[in-house]
Amino acid sequence: MPADPSGFLTAVLHNGVGRFVCQLQRITLKFCKEYGSSRGVREFIEKDLLDFARQNPGVVVYVEPKRHQRPKLEAEYLNGRTEVMNASEYSREQVIKFVEQLRCRSGVEIVRIRKDMRTNNISIQGPWHPFLNQPTEWNLKKFPDAPGLRALKMGKSATDIVLEMAREQGVLNIVQWEGKDPAARDDASGKGAVERTTDQVVRPVTAPSIKQ
């Protein structure tokens, strides 16, 4: 079973911003010429309908006598929807009121509105972004290799600690491998073979400057 229909505030095609177009396309008054429940509609047709039609040239007005049936006000809107109101036992004043109400509506379905506000522009000054309060020189920098922006190394890295320990213990065959593929280091075919010597750094590694 579907959930209760609900929606947000809408205006059909931003109606009212700049120009306003009456959203009522045509209104049909169905009534009986004989029965008493249509009395109000009949009076409206006799006295007020022509004024309504003259005041709203964009609305097509139909009058449909339906013998021995309940009177109805049927409104069709520019978005294709239809609203039907049962007008039986209505007085003339009530019919005037509800015809006016149908004229003023957009064709949007009446549902529970989830939020009672809607805006397309949430921010006037522009929303916050991480570079807002930062120095504008950053616009010319290439991240992440900008020199002033490396992470500060406050202490010894794990590699440094291990190398120190190895040297203390007197290990001689220390090789620092800068290649990306660890498998090539131990390759028996000799493609990635490197001459191992005592405590020789294979590719020069710039030790990070430890700021104290």
């Binding site: 921010s123 522009g126 929303p127």
Partner: protein, 159 residues
């Protein structure tokens, strides 16, 4: 009801389909369970207690929503104050109250998110008041990227 017609049309001839009246009475509950998992969505004897539990949980959530919103906004303000120095949220709120700025947390958090320049002005106001009362520590002064007179000028506060 559109749904009962569909179920009547699609069901095989000897299927046990509930009457229109029954479906109409049960529809409010099925509307609540329309996005639940499995049989709790469509089977009455499972949907009924599931809907009740869902409503109870929703009521609890409404009560607690205010608390969560408050915590979220305070967190956001703490984060928003970070780039302006080591000012704590407590001192920020205290100093705003001293200068009679009664903006609530919701507005302040929205400014921090959406109107950053306004927020900067408000922070500098609080910082200026803190300086005038002599409650800014040297450490905090050093961490400030902008002086407190930058936005509103040096003669703005005349308390």
């Amino acid at each position: 009801m559109r749904l009962s017609l569909v179920s009547l049309i699609r069901a095989p001839r000897n299927a046990k389909v509930p009457s229109k009246e029954k479906l109409f009475d049960r529809l409010p509950i099925f509307r609540i369970t329309s996005n639940f998992f499995g049989r709790r969505r469509n089977c009455w004897s499972l949907a009924m207690p599931a809907a009740q539990k869902g409503l109870v949980r929703s009521a609890w959530g409404k009560k607690v929503k205010g608390m969560y919103s408050r915590m979220l906004r305070i967190t956001r303000l703490e984060a928003a104050l970070h780039p302006y120095g080591q000012m704590s949220y407590e001192s920020f709120a205290e100093n705003l109250a001293k200068v009679n700025v009664l903006l609530n947390k919701r507005i302040l958090a929205d400014f921090a998110m959406l109107e950053p320049r306004t927020f900067k002005a408000i922070v500098s106001l609080a910082q200026k008041k803190q300086d005038m009362d002599g409650e800014t520590s040297q450490k905090e002064l050093l961490t400030r990227p902008y002086p407190s007179d930058l936005v509103l000028g040096s003669n703005y506060l005349k308390f």
